[in-house]
């Protein structure tokens, strides 16, 4: 993603992601879990990078403004649905009691405990979110709001940002945060992350400076209205200068985990638990709690994050009360959760979406007519049901960014909704397709990949195409998909909460290999644009381009299923990813 966007930015003169009801039903999933463990990376990434912008943050970049309250102009809807008999208790409804340990079941071990700059793995970002904070944080509508900032200003030309830091913010090691820590952390961010590299590619020489102990300035050569959005993501966290100097761009060892967040790292025993304690000296904001932003109060003593590789077992653990929260629940257990006393099932929105990703560099799908034919040969809803099993956990929608975000667009809806096998057959005949088998990379490690492929394969064969499914483990798919000579198509799972400019397929080196000057120009505009209306127009044009060129064909949205016990009061994370401040145990 990042390289492609950076290239596009540089190239242009620029302006410019009953339990096994009870048994055999989940057996297949159980086996997969037993042998697998992690989500496909795009999906994992999506959970980690729920980025969204806020139109007001964008606006602030265009004019000289001083913000103390944050930026988002919410258009998003409430996004967490309790589907069981009782809904999660709203924070405002309850009185909190201090103490206790909340046990969270997660699916596996992170590649690094809490370094979201090193990896986009969703378990790492889940833990990073509890321990660290950035200059901005996502509010309940996923927009950026100041977190470690008292205020920030943007020059009239949109080229210079001045960040006024909050004073007296303590790190977990007792040090007080200052501008040097921020500069060191952002420098590491600029070296290690895709979005950081995008911003640093636009940086003026010596553009990032500590003006004084409480002030950081960031000077750009071109406007980047998206900066606050990027800095509100978990990867833009602030740690001490000492830690940055010590670890550089290497992955952060556990003994260097020092943040300013409401939880502090206590202990990590691989495959047993990651324990976080309440940070007693946490420097809370005074403004009202709002998603991941605003005032954070930790009532519980400890957060115990337990890797449970089998999601059926994790769900059972929530039912028995051993875990208070399961981050990932088997879709097939929705009905079981609905009838389990003391447990609430959560359908988490926004989630991700899946698409057919065509190889546009080599082979049959270099012909746009064939992409059009395949794109209109299969029923989206049936494919989603085949992929995920439970209709409630899916949604038909054409947008690259979910309806819960401010980047929602209906451009290309007619193409998305068009299913016509007769016309598809004609397009196949008109195309340069020579009758060779279309090689489809897929895996049974993540069933939605295989189930989608198996269903769409039939529809493709019905319009006269030969399809060969190349089934392997996920690691093999990841390696093969980088080689354009070995496949024609595959399924990709992407995030619905990302700003469209940061979608992975914008990078022409990403599997599928979409090259498009028009795309580069539109992505550049999205990065730069600060006016919400102009941004929306650009997004519409970008999405229309996707449905015209068809580098991918979106199938539809999917939501993850989570479960929480009713002993946890005040847990209502809305569109944000899970956290356990501002909630307590009964």
């Amino acid at each position: 993603m990042s390289d492609g966007i950076i290239r596009s930015l540089q190239r242009k003169s620029f302006s410019r992601r009953g339990f096994l009801v009870a048994g055999l039903g989940v057996a297949g999933a159980a086996l997969l879990q037993a042998c697998g463990g992690q989500e496909p990376l795009e999906t994992a990434t999506s959970a980690s990078s729920a980025s969204t912008s806020s139109s007001s943050a964008a606006t602030s970049a265009a004019t000289t403004t001083t913000s103390t309250g944050g930026a988002g102009t919410p258009t998003a809807e409430s996004t967490t649905a309790a589907v069981a008999t009782s809904a999660p208790t709203k924070p405002a409804d309850v009185e909190h009691k201090k103490g206790g340990t909340i046990n969270v079941a997660i699916i596996g071990e992170p590649p690094v405990t809490a370094d979201a700059m090193f990896t986009t793995n969703f378990i790492t970002t889940d833990i990073t979110r509890q321990i660290y904070e950035g200059l901005f944080a996502q509010d309940s509508k996923l927009g950026p709001k100041p977190m470690l900032l008292d205020a920030f200003e943007v020059s009239e030309d949109g080229l210079t940002y001045t960040f006024k830091l909050r004073s007296g913010v303590k790190f977990h090691n007792g040090d007080t945060m200052d501008a040097d820590d921020v500069v060191a952390s952002l420098t590491r961010w600029g070296k290690m992350t895709g979005r950081g590299k995008q911003i640093f590619a636009l940086m003026a020489p010596d553009g990032l400076k500590a003006a004084d102990p409480q002030t950081v300035t960031l000077a750009l050569t071109q406007p980047a209205g998206v900066l606050p959005v990027f800095l509100a993501l978990y990867e833009g966290f602030i740690t001490t200068k000492e830690v940055c100097d010590a670890i550089g761009t290497n992955k952060m060892p556990d003994d260097q985990i020092v943040g300013t967040g409401p939880f502090k790292f206590k202990e990590h025993q691989v495959d047993r638990y990651i324990k976080l304690d309440r940070f007693e000296d946490y420097s809370a904001r005074n403004d009202e709690a709002d998603g991941l932003a605003g005032k954070k109060v930790v009532y519980i003593d400890e957060l115990n994050i337990i890797p449970v590789p089998n999601i059926s077992v994790a769900t059972s653990g929530v039912i028995t009360g051993e875990y208070h929260f399961a981050r990932d629940v088997d879709n097939n257990q929705l009905d079981v959760l609905k009838t389990s006393p003391g447990v609430t099932a959560i359908i988490k929105k926004p989630g991700g979406w899946i698409c057919l990703n065509y190889n546009k560099k080599m082979g049959a799908f270099t012909d746009k007519k064939l992409r059009q034919a395949v794109s209109m040969c299969f029923d989206r809803e049936q494919t989603l049901i085949a992929a995920y099993g439970v209709k409630e956990l899916t949604r038909m929608d054409p947008s690259i960014a979910a309806p819960e975000t401010i980047w929602y667009s209906q451009a290309g809806k007619d193409v998305y909704e068009k299913v016509d096998q007769e016309e598809a057959k004609k397009l196949v005949q008109e195309s340069s397709y020579d009758g060779s088998p279309i090689r489809w990379l897929t895996t049974k490690e993540y069933l939605y990949h295989y189930n989608t492929a198996a269903y769409v394969q039939q529809q493709m064969e019905a319009i006269g195409l030969k399809v060969e499914l190349l089934v392997s483990d996920w690691a093999t798919v990841v390696e093969r998909r980088a080689k354009p000579e070995v496949y024609e198509m595959l399924v990709a799972g992407l995030s619905g909460s990302w700003m469209p400019a940061t979608q992975l397929f914008n990078d022409s080196s990403w599997p599928g290999f979409w090259e498009s000057e028009q795309r580069d120009e539109l992505v550049g505009k999205m990065i730069e644009e600060s006016d919400p209306n102009k941004l929306q127009q650009t997004i519409d044009a970008y999405q229309a381009l996707i449905y015209d060129e068809l580098p991918i064909m979106k199938i539809g949205d999917n939501f993850s299923l989570q479960a929480i016990r009713d002993e946890v009061v005040g847990f209502d994370t809305g569109a944000n990813d899970w956290y356990f401040w501002n909630c307590s145990l009964k």
Binding site: C35, T120, P253, V270, V478, S509
Partner: protein, 313 residues
Amino acid sequence: MLAYAIRRLLVLIPIMWIVATAVFLLLHSAPGDPAAFMLGSDASAEQQAELRHNLGLDRPLYQQYFDWLGKAVRGDLGESIFLGKPVTSALAERAEPTILLGSLALIVSLIIGLVTGVLSAVRRASWLDLSLMSGAMAGVAVPTFVTGLLLIYIFAVKLRWLPVAGYEPISAGLWPCLRYLILPAITLGAFEAAFLSRMTRSMMLEVIGQDYVRTARAKGLVERDVIVRHTLRNAFVPLLTIIGLMVAALMSGAVVTEQIFAIPGMGRLLIQAVVRRDFPLVQGAVLVIAMLYVLTNLLVDLLTRVVDPRIEL
């Protein structure tokens, strides 16, 4: 016997070398990149290449092989890419849960397997034989993950007698540790017991028709002595080989069982290492497991000789 043991131990060296080389070549020729797994798909090709370089994975394969082999000879199995710690420490940390689980499962399988196998043989063609062998057949046929999930459903979710999953080390106390191991031990032990039961029955039936058994009965020995002292003891020699292999399998980690019950043992470590393409960890774990098999086989051979002194080694 000592000379035999030394000879077998010396044979261990070429076996280990062959295993090490085969595993190294297989792992490195299989698709999959640990850097991609570590960094996530959002990482650029440049970032992945940098990490591969830092991990030394961009060096020529022969160089990586000889470096690893040279260290392995000196007892250094390298560092786990994912865990960032020496492979030997990672394996040592996982030994306790695996040994405890394996031992409990072995006890379960020996008790169930031997008792049901002997009973079936003694009551051949009876309803008891039919029932026990049907049960054994089902035990062999039903995968451990199904057994495990069913046990969790009954004993953890419905009856609430035991925890669904997890592990407490023995240092936390005997009962806190055992309560997490009971269901996995039954899951694992039941599968092995079913196999052992069928083998015990077959071996017993082979021996039970022998002349010396008839002679023992003709001498007026009580049936229990005939079965235990004359029949089972003679049937035990081939069974010992099977039990030896079971011990090696159980001690090297029960992959599926450890995954289902979230037990941080060697089996879970190994499967995760394979999925993550953590080359040094897979290589080290396979070496240790191979060594375990060879040593267990040696021990079984020696025990066979103890049980039946007529056998020449």
